[in-house]
Amino acid sequence: MAILLQLIYSGIALGMIYAVIAFGYQLTFATSGTLNFGQGDALMLGALVGLTLVTLGVNYWLMIPLVCLFGLAQGAFVERIGVRPAIKIKSEFGWIMSTIALGIIFKNVAENVWGRDDLRFPSPLPESPLHLFGANVLPMELLVVGGALLMMLAVEFFNRKSIFGKAVVATSNDRDAAALMGINTGLVITFSYALSSLTAAFAGVLIAPLTLTGATMGAVLGLKAFAVAIIGGLSSGMGIIVGGVILGIAETTTGFYLSTGYKDVPGLVLLLIVLAMKPAGLFGKTAIKKV
């Protein structure tokens, strides 16, 4: 029983990371109807840049805002180079291919800069586990859950309260109408990409001390976060948290009771089942197509 509880704890921590990345998907999907297929690579870059900063002697807590700044710049770059031209020519194929291309370029550059081996990220918190209801939980796992929730709340708060956030919401609701009201929707879309990469980079430095850091760490995380975004619904904030936790626990338990080799499998199976039963996601609203 204690083992199961422990698996649930680490599943929740993992699930919150998925939720944060999925949150990034939602941000760009809402404003522009596009996704960054290189979201996982944004996470990987955030973690590696963070690692370099920490190795240079920067304090972990001081490093986080710097990594967030890097994420902002990286996201804006992806949007300008890869997404904007595709939106202009209304080509779905275009943005899918170009964000994938940018993703593999980032990964390859990271491999050449930081090497192909996985690196250890020093933990900022003590690594001795705490006891919670009879099972062990790492302080870092608590930080992950807290940090992830805080990040999502901060962005939501920004969107609801600030005038710039209202521009983001307006663009999500109706891009053309927002443009006619004088909102620079191009800038809003760039901003949403920047914000989305920021959350990914942030997730990267949160998860890095729990796993290993390396150029290949992002791909699978990005993919499973997409599964979470679909399971929860691409338009539901609550959905991704629930979806993330479900997937995280499914994964840790599969990894323990079946085999670690199979731990990536439940994500896809869940994804296929949800698409077959309720394509809008567990918490999403079905969109009405207009003729």
């Binding site: 109807g33 596009t34 996704l35 297929f37 180079i81 890869g82 031209p85 595709a86 080509s91 779905e92 194929f93 275009g94 899918i96 291919m97 170009s98 994938i100 291309a101 940018l102 993703g103 593999i104 370029i105 990964k107 390859n108 550059v109 491999e111 050449n112 791909a219 699978v220 993919l223 997409f226 599964a227 679909i230 085999s259 080799g261 199979y262 990536d264 499998v265 994500g267 896809l268 994804l271 296929l272 089942i273 698409l275 077959a276 394509p279 809008a280 009405i288 197509k289 003729v291």
Partner: protein, 649 residues
């Protein structure tokens, strides 16, 4: 005109025969097993790319799972050989079937939604396949891989050259089958659903069904290619079928050129030779320099002809120049391989959208990029009357709408509307803008599911049926904002409407069976007659998007009539038409009615409505405010008030 066509056909035939001979004698002339193997790999990839092009080029979906499907094909053959010792002529068909099955499992859920879902789901699939191959070592012997010798026929094992010929033969067969499929009603359905999904559904061509169909066919070709690959390499291991291979396949399709068979061949040549090229830094430097010079020259040429601006050419020029400079800076390229693939994808996606083949065609022919064109020669016999008359003597109502409510969150676009349409009449539906007329059409054709109320059509309820199903049961429509299949010819547009007359399946098309040929011929004759009925037979070979607006509206009517409807819904057919065109339209509508087809007409031209309609219903703010003969409606005070506003007190 005739002779030009013939000359082209002859030239094509000569090119094909020359190509086949070159392909066949290559191993004899070359004699070098390395090159024979290389060309063999190119051919195997080309088979996969033919299939991938159906999904990417024709239906416009992105699949990132074709490396996984390729792996499924390879491992099906490998496992069947290793565990059961099955011969090639058993493993190959099974590899195709198993891979097609996997394709169906993927496509059935993923294609229920449009957008980037298929891309992500197939990406996940590719990852999972690699994991499963690695983990299920009781079946696949995991990372160790499987050894598999060349196939044997009647006890004699094939050598490299003989196997080369086998692959070449299968390549030619695949080419012919893909070409036939894309030229058939199936290919038309694939293209139609890409151009206008809603119109496809309303023509009885279920978008979902044909997307899945396309993906399954495509998976089948990937399976065949995978199977051939395993015999070609004689050793398969899990790491071959990775994300990088998927990216290479997509690069091949878009770089070679979508929607062309020659593009697939060229693309597969590029992706087989490219990694070899990257292994050799010296030759890469030469190629990168040539590429940079070519792009700079091309940019200068385009600037001189004022077809582009300095801003637009800046990125490709700088990109290729940078690549060339970069190649001189570093010693080994293998580590930077993925970056180079990525840069090439970016370059192709934005600056070479039609691929190399499309670019060359545009350059030399100044024409449109089309490969599968239908012959627009007029068939010898033309049916005098192409429209199937409805001879249902019953007097009852064909359509009975009761208490329909259509609510969009706060707004009730239709509020408790009853409507009865008598068989064989022309029923007008009018009302000010935003009164719910088009919403009514969308509810009737299954595009919207009504919030409440019931619809009975010919005695059957329509609730819960899909648009395609409703269309096939005899309700055809046109659209307020024209929804033609823009890149298809006028004739092809009507042929999509005639899709329901085809019963041939994939096998019929591939083998060019008698049934399929008969159906295609009959459809073609009828399509021509339909075009003649609306006076468009002169422009049968024109692309729909290049027709003038009035003709586009008439073409929509012809396409709708091709569905052999009992009830025809016309949504503002006279909008934007000139006075003589309108006269023509009125004649056509009357002729349609004379065939027993019931017509429901939404129109703002009151003279048209009052002229042709037997009954008129008036909607205002989602409610029916009046109904009756045209003369009664004209005198109705409520109607006058709705259109002109109330009399000020």
């Amino acid at each position: 005109m005739r002779s030009a066509v013939n000359k082209n056909t002859i030239r094509n035939a000569v090119a094909i025969v020359a190509g086949l001979i070159a392909l066949a004698v290559f191993p004899l002339l070359s004699g070098n097993p390395y090159y024979i193997h290389l060309v063999e790999t190119i051919m195997i990839y080309a088979i996969l790319l033919f299939g991938l092009d159906i999904v990417v080029g024709y239906t416009g979906q992105v699949s990132l799972g074709h490396a996984g499907l390729f792996g499924v094909g390879a491992y099906t053959a490998g496992v069947l050989f290793m565990k059961l010792g099955m011969p090639f002529y058993v493993t190959a068909p099974l590899a195709i079937a198993v891979t097609a099955g996997f394709g169906a499992i993927l496509a059935l859920p993923a294609l229920r939604v449009s957008g980037p879902y298929l891309a992500m789901v197939t990406l996940a699939f590719g990852t999972i396949i690699q994991i499963l191959i690695n983990e299920m070592d009781f079946l696949t012997s995991g990372p160790l891989g499987i050894k598999i010798p060349k196939p044997a026929f009647g006890g004699a094992r094939m050598n490299e050259t003989e196997y080369y010929w086998l692959v070449a033969a299968l390549l030619v067969v695949s080419l012919v089958v893909v070409h036939r499929v894309l030229k058939s009603h199936l290919g038309r359905a694939f293209e139609a659903l890409r151009d206008s999904p809603i119109a496809s559904d309303c023509m009885g061509v279920s978008v979902y069904r044909y997307k899945v169909y396309a993906f399954v066919i495509s998976a089948g070709f990937a399976g065949l290619a995978g199977c051939l690959y395993s015999y070609s390499e004689q050793y398969i291991s899990p790491n071959t079928y990775n994300f990088e291979l998927t990216i290479l396949f997509l690069l091949a399709i878009i770089m070679g050129g979508r929607k062309t068979r020659s593009g697939a061949l060229l693309g597969s040549t590029i992706i087989v030779l490219l990694p070899k090229l990257l292994d050799d830094i010296a030759s890469f430097r030469v190629v990168a320099t040539i590429l940079a010079v070519a792009v700079v020259l091309g940019a200068l040429f385009a600037l001189a002809r004022h077809t582009t601006t300095p801003r637009r050419v800046a990125i490709p020029v700088l990109g290729t120049a940078g690549l060339a400079a970069f190649s001189y800076r570093i010693d080994a390229l293998t580590d930077w391989r993925l970056t180079i693939f990525g840069l090439m994808i970016l370059l192709v996606v934005y600056y070479l959208q039609d691929g190399v083949v499309g670019f060359v065609r545009k350059f030399f022919m100044h024409g449109r990029v089309r490969t599968v064109t239908v012959s627009t020669e007029q068939p010898a016999e033309i049916v005098a009357d192409a429209i199937v008359a409805v001879r249902d003597g019953s007097r009852e109502d064909i359509l009975n709408v009761r208490g329909i409510v259509m609510q969009f969150s706060g707004l009730k676009a239709l509020n408790d509307v009853d409507l009865a349409v008598r068989r064989g009449t022309i029923h007008g539906l009018i009302g000010p803008n935003g009164s719910g007329k088009s919403t009514m059409m969308n509810v009737l054709t299954g595009i919207y599911t009504p919030t409440a109320g019931s619809i009975e059509y010919a005695g059957q309820p329509l609730a819960g049926r899909t648009s395609a199903d409703i269309a096939l049961s005899g309700i055809a429509r046109t659209f307020q904002n024209v929804q033609l299949f823009g890149e298809m010819t006028a004739l092809e547009n009507v042929l999509v409407g005639l899709h329901h007359t085809f019963h041939s399946n994939f096998a019929d098309v591939g083998l060019l069976s008698r049934r399929y040929r008969a159906e295609e011929h009959a459809a073609r004759v009828r399509a021509f007659s339909m075009l003649r009925f609306v006076g468009l037979d002169g422009v049968a070979g024109e692309e729909a998007r290049s027709l003038p607006y009035g003709k586009q509206r008439l073409l929509e009517i012809a396409r709708a009539l091709a569905l052999d409807p009992q009830l025809l819904l016309l949504d503002e057919p006279a909008a934007g038409l000139t006075a003589p065109d309108i006269k023509e339209l009125v004649t056509i509508i009357r002729k349609v009615r004379d065939h027993g087809i019931t017509v429901m007409l939404i129109e703002h031209h009151m003279d048209v409505v009052m002229n042709v309609c037997d009954t008129v219903s008036v909607l205002d703010f989602g409610q029916k405010i009046a109904e009756g003969r045209p003369a009664e409606i004209q005198a109705d005070e409520k109607v006058i008030e709705a259109y002109l506003g109330g009399i000020a007190a």
